[in-house]
């Protein structure tokens, strides 16, 4: 299994008033292509910080973070923008859909930044939403959709630019258990059928054990255990 992502001694420190917070303090992990990895930890363990660094939303303080051989640690803001558009798709706990836009527009937006033509992006967005079982919901706004439906829209948006890596930050945190499993099944399907590499951030050990190939447990900014599920 070729390596898609590799971090070496990755650090993220930031100041909070007088104290220096070591959110990540030397993390070295590697993720293979097509792997389904769970990042497990309590709040403040650094799992979300690591996800944000992988997503290209932040610069690491030290260490290296290679995705497909490119070191994100040394990327300019423009390169990070391209990385976010092309290499990763991100799914949030709170869905983070734009409330004033329809489901279709939310999905096309990420393709708009990538420069896809209007006709092409609307077509692809419709196909994606239909594959998520939202065929009748294209013109609905987030407030007119259930939580599970909103997360499906968010997954469609994350897939829009065909990234190899999907990042899911507590994707089921705001959903009931039945809907949670439906969403996890969707992710599992994407991993198995389309070969998407998935990094799932969660604090739910059961969920990690049930769906992920491998679980990395973080504590106080360092890897505590790294074992197959």
């Amino acid at each position: 299994m070729p390596t898609l992502l590799e971090t070496q001694n990755l650090k993220k420190h930031y100041r909070m008033g007088e104290t220096l917070v070591r959110a990540l303090d030397g993390v070295s992990i590697s993720v293979g292509e097509g792997e389904f990895l769970a990042l497990l930890g309590t709040s403040g363990s650094g799992k979300s910080t690591l996800l944000n660094l992988i997503a290209g939303l932040d610069h690491p303080t030290d260490g290296s973070l290679r995705i497909d051989g490119n070191d994100i640690a040394t990327m300019s803001n423009e390169d990070l923008g391209r990385h976010r558009r092309q290499s990763v798709g991100i799914i949030f706990q709170s869905f983070n859909l734009i409330s004033t836009m329809t489901a279709l527009d939310n999905v096309t937006l990420s393709m708009m930044f990538a420069g896809v033509t209007r006709v092409e992006r609307e077509q692809r967005a419709a196909v994606l939403l239909e594959s998520m079982g939202l065929a009748g919901r294209l013109r609905h706004r987030p407030s007119q959709l259930s939580g599970g439906e909103q997360q499906r829209v968010a997954i469609s948006r994350a897939l829009a630019n065909r990234p190899r890596l999907l990042l899911a930050d507590e994707p089921t945190g705001n959903l009931d258990s039945r809907t949670s499993h439906e969403i996890m099944e969707v992710l599992k399907g994407l991993n198995e059928r389309e070969g998407k590499t998935i990094i799932l951030v969660t604090h739910d050990a059961n969920l990690a054990a049930q769906y992920a190939h491998r679980t990395v447990v973080l504590m106080d900014g360092v890897v505590k255990t790294d074992s197959p599920s």
Binding site: N52, A55, L57, D58, N77, E78, L80, G81, R82, R84, R85, Q86, I90, F92, N96, L97, I98, T100, L109, S110, M112, F113, A114, G115, R118, R157, A158, N161
Partner: protein, 460 residues
């Protein structure tokens, strides 16, 4: 991301906050309207003044006086702002008394007429006479009008009748004002009637029983009224005929009256009949308006005082530039205030949309995308505000024009365009709206672009 996509997104964002967008746009348009209105008032007034001067046909005229006698005219010009004339008169002739100033007599007139660029020279004759038409009788100013004035200045438009046919005919013209004073109901009926002009004249022979002085007797001249001029031919001191002109007669005829008339002043009383007649002021018409300055300079070198309306016009033009700048500044204040409105609106909108900006960044927007979306939002406000502002300025200008003309007409004047909005002003106003809003939008836009996506995503 294409430009069209950016515009689409910007318009969507503006539509999200309709009221706020509308109010900000209204603010910009008021700013643009006040600036465009101010400048257009300045332009309109300048066009009026310069246009009237051009129409008066006095650009090719130089008024010549004996040096040292410029007095009132020089004051008139200097009072207009630019002192191009200061120090150019008076120095010669009357200062140290080394060389006496040349006299403005018939000989001087011939000398001036012989100059290359000069088309015509005639004295400015303006004398008080008693005008009688039927029962009407009043002391009025009589002026001589050369035949060359036909079709120029005030003589372009006749209410009734026409210009003289010959330089020596016993004909006369009246201004419409004068005609109305004589026959208020039917000034047209005066054409063809006879007017009697009475003035004090000196006798040809000095009576034997007088040691000094001479005999003065009333002379009388009959003339036929041939035309009534619509506009008062006075107004301007140079080349014009001076204010409150009562009756106009041909120049040739005027010269004979001027030679005989006795003014109630010591100089003319003591003048010997043999002494050559001098004129107070002479008008020199040049062949081409552009050589006016040249002729003026040459006349000064000859020792005369010379003035042309060019001097006044130069002063007026620079005064107008100052006027325009002041008006522009006043108008700009409104524009500055409205641009602060744009900054305020954009900052508000960024605060409201912080999370949205975070989302956009997380799904692939980079700083430049965000900056452009906000800049386009600002410039859309600018374009619409500019268009609306020009329209508002135009409507307000129209209203003021209408009001001003109602007043002008109630005062018996001819309607004028006080507000003028040429194409350059319209396009400049719209361009200014865009530039101002881009400037105002650049700070909020770069603030939005630099938002930290993680912080922004936590924002609610």
């Amino acid at each position: 991301m294409t430009f069209r996509d950016t515009i689409g997104l910007a318009l969507r964002n503006l539509r999200q906050a309709k009221l706020r967008t509308a109010l900000t746009t209204l603010g910009v348009s008021i700013g643009i309207a006040s600036l465009a209105g101010m400048v257009s008032l300045g332009v309109g007034l300048q066009e009026q003044v310069v246009g009237r001067l051009l129409q008066s046909g006095v650009f090719d005229a130089v008024t010549v006086v004996q040096a040292g006698e410029l007095g009132g005219a020089a004051q008139f010009l200097n009072g207009r702002g630019r002192g191009g004339l200061r120090g150019e008169f008076g120095g010669r002739g009357n200062g140290s008394g080394s060389t006496p100033a040349p006299k403005l007599d018939e000989q001087a007139l011939k000398q001036i007429a012989a100059m290359d660029e000069v088309r015509e020279v005639y004295p400015n004759i303006r004398v008080p006479v008693q005008l009688k038409v039927g029962d009407f009788s009043r002391q009025v100013a009589l002026v001589g009008v050369p035949m060359s004035s036909k079709g120029e200045g005030a003589f372009q438009t006749f209410s009734f009748g026409a210009f003289f046919t010959s330089d020596t005919d016993h004909d006369c013209m009246l201004s419409l004002n004068m005609a109305k004073q004589i026959a208020e109901q039917a000034p047209a009926g005066l054409v063809g009637k006879t007017a009697t002009l009475t003035y004090p004249a000196r006798a040809k022979e000095k009576p034997a029983d007088l040691a000094i002085g001479f005999d003065v007797h009333p002379a009388e001249l009959q003339c036929r009224i041939v035309g009534i001029v619509e506009r008062d031919p006075g107004g301007l001191p140079f080349g014009g005929l001076g204010p409150n002109v009562g009756v106009m007669i041909p120049m040739g005829l005027a010269k004979t009256i001027d030679a005989e008339i006795v003014f109630p002043d010591l100089q003319s009383l003591l003048r010997e009949p043999s002494q050559s007649k001098t004129y107070g002021a002479v008008t020199v018409k040049v062949k081409q308006a552009k050589s006016t300055q040249d002729v003026e300079d040459r006349l000064r070198r000859m020792g005369f005082g010379a003035l042309s309306v060019n001097d006044a016009l130069r002063g007026a033009k620079s005064a107008f530039i100052l006027f325009d700048i002041v008006q522009g500044l006043v108008g700009s204040i409104a524009l500055v205030v409205s641009s602060l409105g744009i900054v305020n609106t954009m900052v508000m909108s960024i605060l409201e949309r912080t999370r949205e900006i975070g989302i956009m960044k997380a799904i692939g927007a980079d700083n430049e995308h965000i900056r452009r979306i906000f800049l386009i939002e600002a410039s859309v406000i600018g374009v619409i505000g500019g268009l609306l502002g020009v329209a508002m300025g135009w409507i307000v200008g129209r209203a003021i024009n209408f009001g001003a003309n109602l007043y002008i007409q109630s005062q018996g004047g001819t309607p004028a365009t006080v507000f003028s909005m040429p194409v350059w002003l319209i396009s400049a106003a719209i361009a200014l709206g865009v530039i101002v809003s881009l400037l105002a939008g650049s700070y909020p836009a770069s603030r939005a672009a630099k938002l930290d996506p993680i912080q922004a995503l936590r924002h609610d």
